[in-house]
């Protein structure tokens, strides 16, 4: 499954020009099919890995080619496959110029993202984490809008600053742990079993957190976001915003919490502060800017901040909510961006002041958009509501003050989402808007997305039930730490049992 997209991408170079989109779409659909198969065959209620591949790769450096899937990554993989199939089909209908390289890069990007979700080896994760940047850099730089080269370079420099430090931190983790393991190993299972001393955990944690926060983007390190969002082609942006940010959140759950439990407890409040600030900042920005892309971008900051504080509530319910919310947000934001692409085709503008009245002759488009927008504002009855509820529930139990402030974010989300919907769909029609119904082909892409949003709203247990045991295991890694700390004579911290109550 992992290599299918890039193989299809390579195939694009050899088939005739007309066949290129077909091959690309088939490649992503094939991946999607495999992903669905894995989800269907997944055994819920266990925390362990399934479908494990474990091969020796570079024995001298202790790097193994180790893949596996568990409850946390399961639906993120499915989300990735689904959105990629959607976005590929969406562009395939539009036949971009230089399509070979376009679809090759898309395929490479999908491989990178799936690799990051599946990797069970720390170094393999870092490798895929970096690898996925390259195709996005190409896609934005080659096919983007105005000012694209500056924007995309800013993007990659920002994100690689984080991920290169992460590389050093990953190597340091393995080398420092090698004394206990007996040999050099990057395997997550080995590293979990042999945690670092708390002193090293702190700086290693900082490097990892920096990488993930930049990627999200979180508040204070989101500087690359507006430029990149303005310049990126919309289907690419949909993927970027929907999936890549999730890799970062996923990294927190997969890597940081289990591997650096003491540092996680130590820095919990700092991350929570960043998260809450991000919620407020993102929400406020989202209802002041008028560019549609940026509204979605800033709302992503807010939503990702929600996910972060859910994870850093360090409670299973908060983290459960975060996992659910990752999938939800991915679906919703991809839907928004694809709809924005349609709006742009109909009006030639992405500015709220120049949009309006779209719903007049396009009721289906409007309805689809309404569902997506309601999902974004976490209306009760959508899965986003359940996700945010879980997150807040978790945070309430660990840090009540943060939960209060974060709740404001939900109210603000309602405002900007409805504003986005109203200004584009209702209102007086501006003269440049051509109110046209959604085409059948685009509907084929959008309808499954919206269908998934609705399905999750009706039955969120689909995800929660499968994710729960893995999440429990992950957060449990953080919990028993105080005993270890006191056993080592560390008394600098309140035990987590007190912190969490």
């Amino acid at each position: 499954m992992l290599w299918l997209p890039v193989a299809a991408g390579l195939l694009c170079f050899v088939v005739p020009r007309r066949g290129v989109p077909v091959v690309a779409v088939l490649g992503t659909l094939g991946t999607l099919g495999i992903a669905i198969g894995i989800v269907a065959g997944f055994q819920g209620g266990t925390a362990g890995l399934q479908h494990v591949v474990d091969e020796s790769w570079i024995p001298d450096l202790g790097v193994r080619y180790e893949l596996g899937i568990d409850g946390i990554s399961l639906f993120l993989v499915l989300l990735t496959a689904l959105l990629w199939a959607g976005a590929t089909a969406f562009t395939a209908f539009r036949m971009p110029e230089r399509r070979r390289i376009y679809f090759f890069m898309l395929g490479l990007a999908e491989t990178g993202v799936l690799g990051a979700f599946l990797a069970q080896d720390l170094l393999l994760f870092v490798l895929f984490f970096d690898l996925m940047l390259v195709p996005f850099w190409f896609l934005i730089g080659t096919f983007g809008g105005e000012n694209r080269i500056a924007a995309t370079t800013k993007l990659i420099v920002y994100t690689l600053v984080g991920s290169l430090l992460m590389l050093v931190a990953a190597i340091a983790t393995a080398v420092l742990a090698s004394g206990d393991i007996g040999h050099l190993s990057f395997s997550l299972a080995d590293l979990r079993a042999n945690p670092l001393s708390s002193g090293s955990q702190y700086w290693v944690f900082c490097f990892f957190a920096a990488a993930f926060l930049i990627k999200m983007p979180a508040f204070l390190v989101h500087g690359w976001m507006p430029d990149a969002y303005r310049a990126a082609p919309l289907p690419v942006l949909a993927l970027f915003s929907a999936v890549l940010s999730k890799v970062a959140a996923y990294g927190f759950l997969r890597i940081v919490l289990p591997l650096y439990p003491q540092a996680t407890v130590h820095f919990q409040e700092l991350i929570l502060v960043i998260g809450v600030a991000g919620i407020l900042y993102g929400s406020v920005m989202a209802f002041t800017v008028t560019n549609v892309r940026l509204i979605a971008g800033y709302s992503s900051i807010a939503q990702l901040s929600f996910i972060t504080i859910g994870i850093f509530s360090l409670r299973p319910d908060g983290a459960d909510g975060a996992v659910l919310q990752m999938v939800n947000h991915g679906l919703v934001v991809a839907g928004i961006f694809l709809i924005v692409a349609l709006l742009w085709e109909r009006s030639g503008s992405e500015d709220l002041t120049r949009l309006g009245g779209m719903a007049l002759r396009a009721p289906v488009l409007a309805a689809l958009f309404l569902i997506v927008a309601l999902g974004n504002l976490a209306m009760p009855g959508t899965a986003n509501f359940i996700g945010e509820f879980y997150i807040l529930f978790g945070v309430f139990q660990s840090k009540i003050v943060f939960a209060f402030v974060a709740s404001i974010g939900i109210a603000l989300a309602a405002y900007y989402s409805i504003r986005l919907f109203q200004r584009t769909m209702h209102h007086r029609r501006t003269e440049n808007v051509d109110s046209r119904e959604i085409g059948v082909r685009d509907a084929v892409v959008l309808a499954p997305l919206v269908g998934c949003i609705v399905a999750l709203a009706l039955y969120p247990g689909l995800i929660l039930g499968r994710a729960d045991s893995s999440v429990q295991a992950t957060t449990a890694a953080v919990k028993p730490e105080p005993n270890v700390i006191t056993a080592k004579g560390w008394t600098g911290y309140a035990p987590v049992s007190e912190v969490t109550k």
Binding site: I58, I101, V134, A172, A174
Partner: protein, 507 residues
């Protein structure tokens, strides 16, 4: 009474012998008429290189002293030899030029060019194997002198002559410094043999300040040769001025041989005073990473850019030496091989574009390449991404290896320095890739032509397909190998481990 001649291990010396014989034969090729010259001479040179490479592979795994201990045959030396031979092998097709496009006498004849190239390879082979101060110095000069000439070999181009002269002066200064340092070490230890020096220093009966001065001067001298900052000033000028094939060879092969020599002299002869030189080399590495990467930021000339990038890469490699561990040497050899692949691919593309466009090696010459000449765009892109250390390339694995060596030797700050350097470097490597894929081809502007180094002699830019093929194939192979070793690095890692393992007794 019978006279017994000293035992000569012809098998161990065979690569050296093959190269020497090859040089003589190639020089004899000069008597041929210029019509056949290129073909015959190139065939002879390539055959020589292939023979030497084959013999090196044959000797792989042997570890013994040659020529009364002056040379050491081991995998470390042989790996540097192989890299140098590979670089020369690629460089020869790069140097073929269209005879019709050039008047007689502007370019060196193939005989001289290739004989000098082979001499330089011979010097590198010896340098990488030398374990005696005298052999060390002689080999270094044998490496350098042909290069001085090669740099100035474009006789009608002022820049090339300037670069040759500049390299001669700076290189001689470096050699002189080095020689002074070697003399001091000899004065302190009383021996020219690396092993004996090590014993004397281990026993502590050497006057300390003399040794330290010697070490400092040797480090300086070798830093000149490997273009490590702050002894790097010649690098961008010489790289830009020299004919591009020579630059490619110089960048890759000199670095390989000089770094292996650096490892041998520091880790073998001076291994017992590692605490004295380790901080110095670390500082040099950090300075080099900073200077190289920052210097490259504003460059518009691709060759200058690659020159500065070479300074930064030298800094990364120095980390492998400064780690002073077997892992460090392994990482260094791995990186040298990866560096050779990445750089040769990039230079090959520069050579082609220099001939095709009026912009010489200006970054403009590669604009719009992605659309027009994907067969050139891909090698350049892969090489740039690999040099900047992005995953799925040999460059990433090399950096990974080096950082691991640094962290393992308890010099985490060096690992962080590599990471920070890499971030800065992205800005300029990606600029090139952006020019290739994201900008439209530059419009020809005659006014620009004067500013570019090789353009002034380009009468007929349009290349013939066959000529291009001779360059495209090596470029493609290098690029493909870069990706291959990025995805499946094990063969190269094993190779590097063998090379580093040769020094294992010294750590």
């Amino acid at each position: 009474m019978t006279f017994t001649a000293p035992h000569i291990d012809y098998a161990g010396l065979s690569p050296v012998i093959a190269l020497t014989a090859g040089i003589v034969v190639v020089l004899l090729g000069g008597v041929l008429s210029s019509r056949h010259q290129r073909l015959v001479v190139s065939a002879l040179s390539l055959a020589t290189l292939a023979t030497a490479a084959g013999l090196s592979v044959w000797q792989w795994g042997n570890q013994e002293d040659l020529v009364a201990g002056a040379l050491r045959l081991d995998e470390l030396g042989l790996s540097a030899t192989l890299i140098a031979i590979f670089a020369a092998w690629v460089c020869i097709p790069l140097s073929w030029r269209d005879p019709a496009a050039e008047p007689e006498g502007t370019e060196p004849r193939h005989t001289e060019f290739q004989a000098l190239l082979l001499s330089s390879v011979l010097g590198m082979t010896l340098l990488a194997q030398a374990q005696n101060l005298i052999a060390f110095f002689v080999a270094l000069e044998l490496l350098s002198v042909p290069l001085y000439v090669l740099c100035g070999s474009s006789l009608r181009r002022e820049r090339s002559l300037e670069s040759g002269l500049k390299y001669l002066i700076v290189g001689s200064l470096g050699s002189a410094t080095l020689l002074y340092g070697l003399a001091m070490i000899y004065g302190a230890a009383g021996s020219t043999d690396f092993g004996t020096i090590d014993q004397v220093l281990t026993n502590g009966n050497a006057s300390d300040s003399l040794v330290l001065m010697g070490v400092a001067l040797i480090a300086t001298g070798l830093a000149f040769k490997t273009s490590v900052a702050p002894f790097h000033q010649w690098t961008p000028d010489v790289y830009q001025g020299a004919p591009t094939p020579v630059t490619a060879f110089m960048a890759v092969a000199t670095k390989a041989a000089a770094f292996v020599a650096l490892v041998r002299i520091f880790d073998v002869a001076l291994g017992s005073i590692v605490d004295d030189w380790q901080p110095a080399l670390s500082v040099l590495a950090i300075i080099s990473i900073a200077v190289g990467n920052i210097g490259a930021l504003g460059q518009n000339s691709l060759k200058r850019l690659l020159g500065y990038s070479g300074i930064a890469q030298a800094g990364y490699m120095l980390v492998g030496v400064a780690a002073a561990s077997e892992l460090g040497v392994n990482a260094l050899v791995f990186y040298l091989a990866a560096y050779a692949l990445m750089n040769l691919a990039a230079f090959a593309v520069v050579v082609v574009r220099e001939r095709e466009t009026p912009w010489g090696d200006d970054i403009k010459s590669v604009q719009g390449l992605g659309r027009e000449r994907p067969e050139l765009a891909w090698p350049l892109t892969i090489s740039m991404l690999a040099l900047s250390g992005l995953p799925a390339t040999a460059g990433f694995m090399g950096k990974l290896f080096l950082i691991e060596a640094a962290v393992d030797a308890d010099h985490t700050y060096l690992g962080v320095a590599i990471a920070i350097g890499t971030m800065i470097s992205l800005a300029y490597y990606l600029r090139v890739v952006a020019a290739v894929w994201m900008r439209p081809a530059a419009e020809p502007a005659p006014a620009m032509a004067g500013g570019s180094p090789e353009a002034d002699e380009e009468a007929a830019p349009a290349p013939k397909g066959t000529r291009c093929l001779a360059i495209l194939v090596p470029a493609g192979i290098c690029a493909a190998a870069t990706v291959f070793f990025g995805v499946i690095p094990s063969p190269l890692v094993d190779w590097a481990n063998h090379a580093g393992g040769a020094l294992a007794p010294f750590f």
